[in-house]
Symmetry: C2
C-alpha cells in the first residue's frame, strides 16, 4: 500500500512531459509504446505465441517520425489532423503487410504470431498514438485538453481503488477481476467527473460542460481498459505485465486505462471543435 502510493510518485515526471507537449510528448509516447509492446509480447511468450518486436518497433518509429515532421511543418493548421489521419491509414497498411509477411518463414511461425503482432499494433500502438494526436489537436485549438486524458484515467483508478476499499460490497465482475466492486466503479466515475470538472473550472471555463462529459466517458472507458488488460493477463496466466514500477506492475499495467481513454478524449474533442 505504502509502496503503491510512493511508486505513484514515479509518475510525476510525466507531468513535465505533459507541460512541454509537442515533440517531447511524441517521443515519450513512442518510448512508452515500445515498452508496452515489449511487455505485451513477453507475456504472450508464456503461451508460446511470439509477436514480432522488430516489425512493431520499426512501424511505430515510422509513425512517430511522420507525426513529428507534420507537427513541425504545419502544426497549428486544422488541416494537420486530416493529414495525420491519412498518414495513419497508410502506416496501418504498411504495418499490417509487414506483420503478414512475417509469416512467410512458414515453418518457424504460427498464425497467432502474426495475429498478436497485429493486435499489438492496433490495441497498443494505434490507441496510445491518440495521446499524441490529442496534443496535436490541443495546439490547433489552443486548449490544454491532453491533461484531461491523464486526469480522467488516474482519477478513476485512484477513486475506484479507495472507494472500493472502504465501501466495496457488491462484486463488479468476479470472473474477470474478483477484487473490483460496483461501489468502487461508481466511485471511480464520480471521481473522474469531479476532477475533470475542477480542471475545467480552472483551465477551460468556456468548455466546462465538455469537461464533465469527458469525465463521465473517461470514467467508464478507463475501467473498460483496465478490465481488458485484466482479461489478457488472466487468460495468459500472469498477475502483472511487468514490475518496472514496484506496486504498480509494468508500463502496460499503469497505462491500461490511458490506452482506452486517449482515443475517446481525442475523438470527442475533435468532433466538437472541428465540425
Amino acid at each position: 500500500m505504502k509502496t503503491r502510493i510512493l511508486s505513484g510518485l514515479i509518475m510525476l515526471p510525466f507531468l513535465f512531459i505533459l507541460y512541454f507537449g509537442k515533440n517531447v510528448l511524441s517521443i515519450a509516447c513512442l518510448i512508452i509504446t515500445l515498452c508496452a509492446v515489449y511487455e505485451f509480447f513477453n507475456a504472450f511468450k508464456k503461451i508460446e505465441v511470439r509477436g514480432s518486436l522488430p516489425v512493431v518497433a520499426t512501424s511505430t518509429t515510422i509513425l512517430y517520425v511522420g507525426l513529428i515532421l507534420l507537427n513541425n511543418w504545419i502544426g497549428d493548421n486544422p488541416m494537420n489532423l486530416f493529414l495525420i489521419a491519412t498518414l495513419t491509414i497508410f502506416w496501418l497498411f504498411i504495418s499490417i503487410i509487414m506483420s503478414l509477411l512475417y509469416l512467410f518463414k512458414i515453418n518457424d511461425r504460427k498464425l497467432e504470431d502474426a495475429m498478436v503482432t497485429i493486435t499489438a499494433l492496433v490495441y497498443i500502438v494505434f490507441f496510445i498514438f491518440h495521446f499524441a494526436l490529442t496534443d496535436s489537436l490541443a495546439v490547433i485549438i489552443n486548449i490544454p485538453i491532453v491533461w484531461l486524458i491523464v486526469i480522467a484515467s488516474f482519477a478513476t483508478d485512484i477513486f475506484a481503488y479507495f472507494v472500493g476499499m472502504t465501501l466495496g460490497k457488491h462484486r463488479l465482475c468476479p470472473n474477470i477481476s474478483p477484487k473490483k466492486s460496483i461501489e468502487g466503479s461508481i466511485g471511480g466515475i464520480v471521481g473522474s467527473v469531479v476532477c475533470c470538472g475542477l480542471f475545467g473550472i480552472f483551465f477551460m471555463k468556456t468548455m466546462l460542460i465538455h469537461c464533465l462529459v469527458i469525465g463521465i466517458l473517461g470514467g467508464v472507458v478507463s475501467q473498460l481498459g483496465d478490465l481488458t488488460a485484466s482479461i489478457f493477463k488472466r487468460k495468459i496466466g500472469i498477475k502483472d505485465y511487468g514490475n518496472l514500477i514496484p506496486g504498480h506492475g509494468g508500463i502496460l499495467d499503469r497505462f491500461d486505462s490511458v490506452i482506452f481513454v486517449s482515443p475517446v478524449v481525442f475523438y470527442y474533442m475533435f468532433i466538437i471543435t472541428m465540425f
Copy 2:
C-alpha cells in the same frame, strides 16, 4: 481446367460494377467483404478459433454507410479523401474496442477469438476498403484508376498460371505453395505490366509511366497476397476457403490478390496526384 476457365466468366458481372462505380461499387465491396470474412471465420472454426461475425458485420456496414454519405455529400472535392481517412481511423478505434469487449464474456471466449476478429478487420475489411477508396479518388481526378487494381491482380494470376504451366521448372517457395514456379512468378509480373500498359495506352495516355509502375508493383504484391492466403489455409489445414465458384474456391480465394493490390494502387495514385 475447363471448369476453371468457364467459372472465370462468373467474374464478368464485376465489370459492370467497375463501370458503374460509386455507390454500386461501394455496396459490392461491402457484400464481398462480408462474404470473405464469413469464409475466413469459417476456416478458423476448424482450429477452434471463433471470430465475431456480428462485430465485423456491424462495423463494416457502418464504415461503408459513412463512405457512401461522404461520397454523395462532397464527392469530387479532394478534401473528401482526407475526411474519409479521418472516418477510417475513428471506425478502426470503434471496431477494435468492439472486438476487445467481445472478450468480456470471459468464460466463453479465447484471446484468439478477439485476435482473429481484429485480424479480419484490418487484413480483409480495411484492405478491401481501399478498392472503394480508389474509386473515390478516381471520381476526384477523373481517371478510371480502379480498373488498374483488377487488371493487375487478374493479369498476374492468369499469366502466372499459364506461364508456370508451360515453362515452370524452378520452384518458388515449396513450403508455402508447392506448385508455384519462379518462371510463373516472373510471367505474372510481365503479364501485369503488359496489361496495365495496354490499359494506359488506351485510357490514361498522360499517365502511361505510372500504369507501368503499378503493373510492376501490382504484379509483385498480387503474388504476396496469394501466398499470404496460402499460408493461412496451409496452417489451418484447408485447401480452399470455400467453393462458391467451382474451380476457383471461395470469394477469399478469388480476391486474395485484390486485397493486397487495392491499397498499393490507392496509395500510389493518391501520393502522385495529391502532392
